[in-house]
């Protein structure tokens, strides 16, 4: 079963720092809830694992992530992740992620993510009903983790780093100007973080709302 997502996530991070993170696959993978890079297989290929928990259900995949394309000029990364569980139920994702600078606010950017997720086996057969919603949740949480991690990176230039208004970013816990101690509150899995999720949702809605 295939799910296609095409999402724009406005971030209160400048484009340079966001790109710095995005182009570092290992660091980016660290933002994916439940994901970790276990081994670098080549310049562009990594071995990894993902654990997804949704309510009482758990899925664990092992597989590879290949960087198909990295283009600094357009701040684009194309990734292909493929994995399977022990019995062979599989999942794959083709993801094109682009960082677009915000012309109105140099301290902000947009993360554009277009993903095609294909799931096979029991997750497709019995989890299909939830696929879109769960994919969206995972992606949104990834984006929040990404944002927090990016904010801990050293600023690339003086022009960046203005924080967004606290009202519209209630989870803005990490200090954007404090690169010394990068301890982002990243969520490692999507289970049991429901309150966090509700806040992320509110935050995203706020950003979308403010941009009309």
């Amino acid at each position: 079963m295939e799910v296609k997502l095409d999402k724009q996530y406005p971030l209160d991070v400048d484009a340079d720092r966001a790109w710095a993170l995005l182009s570092d696959l290992k660091a980016t993978a660290g933002c994916m809830p439940g994901a970790e890079i276990l081994e670098q297989l080549s310049d562009t290929s990594y071995k990894g694992a993902v654990k997804v928990k949704v309510g009482p259900a758990v899925a664990q995949f092992g597989g590879t992530v290949d960087v198909i394309e990295t283009d600094a000029a357009t701040r684009t990364v194309v990734l292909r992740g493929k994995g399977a569980d022990k019995g062979g139920s599989s999942a794959s994702m083709d993801l094109t992620a682009v960082i677009a600078a915000d012309p109105q606010n140099p301290a902000h950017c947009t993360l554009n993510g277009a993903a095609a997720v294909i799931v096979n086996g029991k997750f497709a057969q019995f989890g299909g009903r939830m696929m879109v919603q769960v994919s969206e949740m995972i992606l949104a949480q990834f984006v929040e983790n990404f944002r927090q991690t990016a904010l801990t990176l050293p600023a690339a230039s003086q022009s960046s780093g203005t924080s967004v208004d606290a009202d519209s970013a209630p989870v803005d816990a990490a200090a954007p100007e404090a690169p010394a101690k990068p301890t982002p509150q990243v969520a490692t899995e999507i289970n049991g973080l429901a309150i966090f999720w509700s806040l992320v949702k509110g935050w995203l809605r706020g950003l979308f709302g403010s941009r009309g």
Binding site: G55, P56, K122, M131, M137, G192, I195
Partner: protein, 287 residues
Amino acid sequence: MIPPRFEYHAPKSIGEAIKLLSDLGDGAKLLAGGHSLLPMMKLRFAAPEHLIDINRIPELRGVREENGHVIIGAMTVENEVINSPIIQARLPLLSDAAKLIADPQVRNRGTIGGDIAHGDPGNDHPALAIAIDATFVLEGPAGRRQVAAGDFFFGTYMTALAENEVLCEIHAPAFAEGTGYAYEKLKRKTGDWATAGCAVVMRKTGDTISHIRITLTNVGPTALRANDAEAALLGKPLDAANIAAAAAAAAAICDPAEDLRGDIEYKTAMAAEMVKRALKAASARCA
């Protein structure tokens, strides 16, 4: 289809259950009616190391009335909801709607609390609870807290219930005299989840709608409250134009997942149709 191994615990009190949850941590799951959890385990989607069976906690069961509120123990099973004289008299929406859930045997095991706490958008009680302005009483190591039904559901399988908390009670104000209500559920067959469902609670002053709740089942990541649809009716009479406006407003917030029951378009249209039917049925019951 065989569930994986687990340790079984059968606490006798809420306190004991919470202590077990805290002690056993992430690998523990509460077993209520078991008709969602056990099938997931048999399909090997879930493999909790510990099951904490809360069926032997008497304080979690039963229905009582206090100060104009109905208090339903979370482990009250659907058939008890159907047959409770208190619910029939004070919250008849629940006893009517519970008849549309699953089948007679499953209704002997399935609990109202389990249906709510699971966080499945296909379940019926979330929309019903929001429609009756229910409040959930949750108890954890730090004591009890209350969460309004409308604030409880975050996403598919995601609720305000923390991993070390137990949903203990559902509180809801008894329907005022003359309250109209209806739950319309379109389903493929007995035992199925809703293709789309709508709960309505309505009061009228003369011909004017003075109180209205419209909530939807299985047309989004959670049960939905159709605020704009309610706004389209509040302070107005229930005429064809207003019904159409409310149905359209409800349809606008639907975000259903496509499955064998139908695609997004069908489910959205059916949500609108269920809204229309529920509004008419509720109105007919208003005194």
